[in-house]
């Protein structure tokens, strides 16, 4: 078992375990911290696949910006777990059954397909480096890139308009 396999399984266990802790934590702040751990594990997977640019962007954008926004909102709202009323036990049970069925169906449907034995290029390959990604981004994808700036502007205006008092 090579170091790559060990790292893969370690990051997989870390990602799945902290994803489970996200949905089973009672305190919303703990959920957010576990979600940050999940994002770091996913960034580790990106590094293992040599997608270095996406790994850094994932940490900066998701773990850095989005989760801090979540933390700010939760702390501004001053949520305490006592304000959440008692929930229906069967509703949670039905939700877990539904999600488990989705997992079962997808796993059973994909298990024997032809593509499953294809190898993935680990640790090598330079398509994930910022040099190559930047060249393609500003040559072939420059129009979506510029349109996304308009999207950000409208999101910013929308957030300000929705968030201000009346």
């Amino acid at each position: 078992m090579s170091i790559t396999h060990l790292l893969f399984w370690f990051l997989t266990v870390l990602a799945l375990g902290s994803a489970l802790m996200v949905i089973f934590s009672k305190n919303p702040v703990h959920s957010i911290l576990w979600l940050i751990a999940t994002f770091f594990a996913i960034s580790g997977h990106y590094i293992l696949l040599n997608a270095q640019f996406l790994a850094i962007v994932n940490i900066i954008v998701y773990a850095g910006a989005i989760m801090v926004l979540f933390l700010f909102v939760v702390m501004l709202m001053n949520l305490n777990s006592a304000s959440i009323p008692l929930k229906n036990k069967w509703l949670g049970f039905a939700g877990v059954i539904s999600g488990g069925s989705l997992l079962l169906v997808l796993t059973a449907a994909l298990k024997d397909t032809e593509i499953m034995r294809n190898d993935v290029m680990m640790k090598t390959g330079d398509i994930g480096l910022i040099h190559n990604l930047g060249l393609v981004l500003f040559k072939d994808y420059v129009l979506p890139f510029e349109i996304s700036s308009v999207l950000f502007l409208s999101a910013m205006v929308g957030a300000v308009v929705i968030g201000k008092k009346d």
Binding site: I23, S31, F39, L54, I66, N118, Y141, F152
Partner: protein, 111 residues
């Protein structure tokens, strides 16, 4: 590693996100589970990109096949960031009106 490891990991992460959306009633945690599902898809896109690149690199060593998948992930992150900013503004607005983040109190679409 083969692609099936990544497929099963992404399917498991996505299902955990679905379970969270279905069982939790705190709207912020539901929102976080949506982010979790987006990240599962992103991971799968990167894995498929590297799989495609490996197959193409066996034919032509200087190929850049598969780079589109990683740019797609980049644009998904862009859209997710915009979505989160507007969504959290809506959540703050709803909290100001109802003083609750329980989705069962928000099912009327009117004040």
């Amino acid at each position: 590693m083969t692609i099936q490891h990544y497929i099963f990991l992404a399917v498991a992460l996505f299902s955990i996100g679905v379970i969270g959306v279905l069982t939790r009633r705190n709207i912020i945690i539901i929102f976080m589970c949506i982010e979790l599902m987006l990240n599962a898809v992103n991971l799968l896109l990167v894995a498929f990109s590297k799989m495609h690149h490996l197959a193409a690199a066996a034919v032509d060593a200087t190929t850049q096949a598969g780079i589109d998948g990683q740019l797609f992930v980049f644009f998904i992150m862009v859209v997710a960031a915009a979505e989160v900013s507007v969504g959290l503004a809506i959540i703050v607005m709803m909290y100001r009106n109802t003083h609750s983040v329980d989705v069962n109190f928000l099912n009327r679409l009117k004040h």
